[in-house]
Amino acid sequence: MFDNVWLIPLFPLLGFLINGLCGRVIREERVIGAIGSLAVFGSFVLSAATLGNLLSLPAGERVHNVTLFTWISSGTFRADAAFLIDPLSCVMLMVITGVGFLIHLYSIGYMHGEEGFFRFFAYLNLFTFAMLILVMGNNLLIMFVGWEGVGLCSYLLIGYYYQKKSACDAGKKAFIMNRVGDFGFLLGIFTLFWYLGQSHGIWTIQFTELARHADILPTGGVVTIITLFLFLGATGKSAQIPLLTWLPDAMEGPTPVSALIHAATMVTAGVYMIARMNFLFVRAPETMLTVALVGCATALFAATIGTAQNDIKRVLAYSTVSQLGYMFLAMGIGAFSAGIFHLVTHAFFKACLFLGSGAVIHSMHHALHHALSQADPQDMRNMGGLKSHMPRTYWTFFIATVAIAGIPPFAGFFSKDEILWRAFANPLHGNLNYLLWGCGALAALLTAFYMFRLLFMTFHGDCRITPEAKAHLRESPAIIVFPLIVLAFLSAIGGFIGMPRLFGVANLFEEFLEPVFSRSAEYIKVGHALELHNPLLEWEMMGASVGVAVIGIAIAFSMYVQSKTLPERFVAAFPLLYRVVFNKWYLDEIYDLLIVNPCKATARFLWKGFDVVVVDGVVNGAATLLMGASRMLKNTQTGYVHNYALSMAIGVVVIVACYIFR
């Protein structure tokens, strides 16, 4: 039934090989774009078929391991090249291939005329391949291969404009910060493998096997260490505190890359990994608390920064970090399916937002280019009033903004509200619930605020560019608008698959994912007080989360539509606060001071002190020694035939003498 799932990652790989190897020869943009998009579309069709197959099975039989071949077999260690098809990986497959396909389509229009068009599509396909490997792998090692693969593609695509120094730096920053996380991830894998093998004789890294043996694991102790390592990996990939500063810089890449990699798919890999290892995380309460607190803090922290940025993509980048924080909050309170649900809806509306901003930037760029203006096409202060020029982009953007702000009945409302409610009602973290909920709600308010600030500054009010540039503002071509419409449609209705039970309907999404998380849910129930069940309270909390969103929108409306001077007066009133938030809480500077500069100093010392003196000294010393010895010995090589002949003659005499007188 699932024998053909290996074709799903194969298509993008083929697309990568064709475009990567022959792209320079093909040259025709339409052909390259078609190859890249069709490869992902093929995967999408197969993923949909897989989902259909899975749905046709009874809920208890929806976990399948598909082994291709044995990859590594060494003593007790064994890793297969094998795929795991279960509801969780299936959901991820649909998101990656579905949203991925739309973004590929969009890229054909967006990247039109760019140098290295084929390179872009080759990287994009390679990324899709790696991401599919990451979510489909049935053991930690295969997952790690995908994990590293997406990191590589992220680096390549951030640095796509490699002639630009800032893009190269951003690529390096992303890669290096991810390496820190990957190191933690690896340590987690090693510790888990070693611990299970040493103390229980179970040498395995396969997810289903690990989950089957989860009951023998103790609570806390070594499991806490393992999960903390894994979580460090997740913070790197998903840009959480402390490894979050790479994601805003990653906006140097082309906008479709930001949409696909740095919003919809790759950055959610950390969330996916925690959900995949849920049986481990629920056995480490301290880690769960850490995850929840880090997620919560990140959600709030990034949201505050988002309120003060002027670069349209940077606002969205901080928004992504913030929303990822929500997902981690959900993971940390054991609401795994709620977190994955938010991952899915976030993929819809954030991809739509990024692609919409890309359309805006594209249009602004052309307009400013025609008017020979040097203004920054990404700066919202140069925009305004784009609504009448780009109506379709505006409406799709509007729907996605409403969705992320959490207004019912759009997708973001259902997922965000569920996380907030579960944060409030969950039994895991005692009285910290109120704190978690409070931070989450505040972040929701800020989300609504900064998103509507972005919307108002970009699309409403007066156009702030010169009239001649304004004359060149155009709606984007159909190939760019079509993905926007599809994604806006999904942002609008996507939430209905996961409506709360409170509405008297089945939560289809949660039921679908239940087989993956049911054992962890039982474990939480056994170990802790019962979850809060109070329909009235739940209605109230729902009202509260809608309320904060509305408040956020109202503040944005009053500040950026009604009274144009209010933001300036606000900045004037709180100059310090504004400066701190605008400069991202000086996080980059703090990291520079605490980590980057000491590292540089150490490296400089090792270079000037150790490498130059010790290493080079040893090498050069050996050479000098040899040279001195040679200089002495060369005196025997007089170059005169006489001397050689004489020594030969003496030699013969000596040999003969020895022979005779021995």
């Binding site: 060369k634 090589q637 170059g639 005169y640 035939v641 006489h642 002949a645 004489l646 003659a649």
Partner: protein, 100 residues
Amino acid sequence: MPALHDYLIVAAILFAIGAVGVLTRRNAIVIFMSIELMLNAVNLTFVAFSRYLGNIDGQIFVLFVMTVAACEAAVGLALMIAFYKNRESIDVEKMNLLKW
């Protein structure tokens, strides 16, 4: 009729004279002649032993040695002339271009 050892003594003396000549003289032509002397000393022992043992092989060998010596003289003298054209001298001490 001299005995075998008389020939061998003469040959040894000739060889020693040749060897000393090669080692001590600086004129390339003289060194050359000394080498010829050494070769002929060897030829003499070949012939002497050939007669003594009644075996013709030694005498045939001498013909080979003489052929090679003739070739060597031709090549060697050509070298001398070439060298003399460059340096106006055939002093082997001055043949030191490849010396460090």
